[in-house]
Symmetry: C3
Subunit: 338 residues, 3 copies
């Protein structure tokens, strides 16, 4: 429990109403009850604000008159909500539980203090794990990998040999870091594998979603700079470089040797083909395919709008005829000029 | 082994031919031999029916004259085939094998009778597992999760804290239930994680395909109603709600807070963007992208037809010129009117 | 270490320059230093060739005059590079480490000589593993599966019952072989599962990327012929058949009962719908969707080109109007004829 006035002081914000009211957790406007703090960051929820039973609401100063109850005033209500939610989450965060007797840790591994390691995890030779990192159950960390401090590695993760994680990196369940990149040379009658001898290097404060895969470099390294966030089921090919603060939504894929700039937003299911460069500050819409370098910041898309099947079938036929249609229009234009 | 007449009686159907013939397993029309029962549910296989060596065939009454051998008559041949195949599968189903000595089970977990748990599985504090559920090898079930009775949890699955599974739920290998949703607030110079404190709630009779991921809710829960079936490699974002009897094919993705109705069919690789609502009874074609609410049942698509590269290159150029082409047609129309 | 002349002799190639120079590893043209061998297979790197510090470079005879240093001459520089890289990789390959005391191996399993099995792996009843195969940590191989010799099975893999792998097969981390295919029959009020009783059969010299899933057949088998290579996060449905030497890039999906020919290249994120046939020698571009049989070798695509949002929004509107636009052009043409 924390009071509204304590929370305001902690976050260096002002509040209005009863500063002594006790707050226990965050909740949505619609579901909040006594001891819950909620927030409004999107005007489309204004109607819910009016009826909210929240003990307090985080509001932009321009909207503070829209709610009669207790409020915490913030120019960035969503960022403040994130901070408040993190405050409560830390109160309830699990205790470090030490090293489970059924983990296997190679004697040459260097495990810093306050590290926890769950049951049936495997820590290979010469692995280094920094202070206060939490390794859940059933994690494999292979030889010579380096994990920074305060990392959070969830169940089922595999980190292959010699990969590096910075500080405060989260890998969600099922992530695979450092599998071989997809490198094949075609000889006369079969494919020959190119050994993948680079590493994966992940900067500080990154998070990687469940079952996402990041391949090791072919010769040099695959690199994520600091504060990069990947959602679930993403595929990052070998030698890819992703700039700081870039965020990628679920099921997107970046093919080998592509270079993504800083502060990019890549939509769900989008694709970036190999060996191209996307500059800083680019937004790619969901399921779009990037096939050429992008040299100017901005928003890019390529996916046709959804139609009901009757109309879509007509459209699809017409798309195939589009070159012919264009030529017919050219002919009409020429005739007109005659 | 079962005879044709026994099978007919069990399913309350009629048969024609030798009721004493022994049946041992299901097979395709083309591969079936003595003691195999096959089925015809798709008229395009009529040719194979004529030459089938099956001991018996499940047939619609309208087609029963197309086959001279023994037959089981059903208005729904595919449903009957499913029931027959399940009958044989149950005969051969693996024995419950009890709790493997190399599983780790927290002393506070409540494990009902007839539960089996495989080697190197981890059952966390206060987990509840219902009667006759089978937990394979190398499964992690975290604190406070609740698993119904008769569930089937395959190898490598991770179920994170406090998630709920109903009765008779199947999770295939590599599924991750309850990883953190992708919630980030952008502050001045970096992303701040929004703690994800909701759960995943899965109804009765659901099945989830290999390596599919379902994220926990941000504040409230991610919900799958009863009889929802997801194929492999699917991503379900936080706070999504999926109605009963909906089926989603492989590699599809549903972004955060989207609401999918009942009895929907979502094609392989299709995408649904966040915060939209799809009504009951909607079919989305493979690889289509849903970007707006759908308010009427029906079939929807958006993917251009495949063309060979020579033609597709022309089409692609023309698509980019489409707005200009439309304006040229407008000009021709105006000229004509002059 | 190996000298340039030794390497040339081993590969039956000629060299130019100092045959006694010592080579220790492969490197890119830009990063290579003393004792590194590099290669040029793509003319776009010619500029880097001129400034390369590599001890030797693998070059096509037509380009040998472009580099003044030591060179290994090859008609197929990339294939030669692959062979050289494999030579160095084998020098550094990990020792077989035997069977970890914390693996669980059913007494009925048949493990050939020189097999290694990592910690917390589970080998089920009657499994057969061939000579010199390496099973990493935390792998599950279920009853009656057969693994050939010299296979490489990485951490977290699941191979379900009765599946077969040929010789020299690599399964990267998180792969699931033999999960149930997605087979459901719709009865009046709910879905009935079709038991999946086929297997997955994988030929010799195949490789399967991280977190890729290959479902077992419904009745018959899902088959990959020899020398098939799948990248990460791919989904292969039940009863699919993939011909020899076919290569599929990341995040692609092949739906149930599709048949892909030999020597095909399927691009990243591409989709193939169920029950269709793609002939030998077909290339499918990234994110294209194959909805009909392909009967002629060639390159096929269907994805619209990326545009900036302002232009794309116009294009998207026009695509929906395309049938109407075509009719307007038809009307203009008729009017002209009047």
């Amino acid at each position: 429990m924390v009071t509204l006035s304590q929370l305001a002081e902690k976050l260096n914000l002002s509040y209005q109403g009863d500063g002594d009211i006790q707050l226990r957790k965050v909740a949505t406007l619609a579901s909040a009850g006594a001891n819950d703090i909620s927030f409004l960051s999107n005007r489309s929820y204004l109607k819910e604000l009016k009826h909210s039973q929240a003990a307090a609401v985080i509001l932009h100063p321009d909207l503070s008159e829209q709610f009669l109850g207790n409020k915490l005033i913030s120019d960035e209500p969503y960022v403040t909500f994130a901070k408040v939610a993190n405050y409560f989450a830390e109160q309830n965060s699990p205790q470090q539980t030490g090293i489970h007797p059924q983990a296997y840790i190679d004697p040459s591994a260097q495990i810093a203090e306050d590290v926890s390691i769950g049951a049936f995890s495997v820590i290979g030779p010469d692995v280094v794990i920094g202070r206060a990192s939490r390794i859940a159950s059933r994690v494999t960390i292979e030889a010579n990998a380096v994990i920074g401090h305060d990392c959070d590695i969830r169940s089922g993760v595999v980190i292959e040999q010699a990969c590096h994680l910075g500080q405060r990196v989260t890998l969600h369940a099922g992530v695979v870091i450092g599998a071989d990149g997809f490198g094949l040379a075609r000889s006369a009658n079969k494919w020959i594998k190119i050994p993948q001898t680079g590493r994966v290097i992940i900067g500080d404060d990154c998070s990687i979603g469940a079952n996402t895969t990041i391949d090791r470099g072919a010769i040099e390294d695959t690199v994520l700079e600091d504060d990069v966030h990947l959602d679930n089921q993403i595929q990052i090919g070998h030698n890819v470089h992703i700039g700081a603060h870039t965020v990628i939504a679920g099921c997107a894929a970046v093919a080998g040797s592509a270079k993504i700039g800083r502060n990019c937003l890549i939509g769900g299911g989008a694709g970036v083909v190999g060996h191209i460069t996307v500059c800083d500050g680019v937004t790619i819409q969901a399921m779009a395919l990037v096939t050429k370098d992008i040299k100017h910041p901005g928003i890019y898309g390529s996916v046709a709008p959804l139609q009901d099947n009757k109309n879509w079938r007509k459209t699809a036929v017409r798309i195939k005829q589009l070159d012919e249609l264009t030529r017919r229009v050219q002919k009409l234009e020429r005739n007109k000029d005659d």
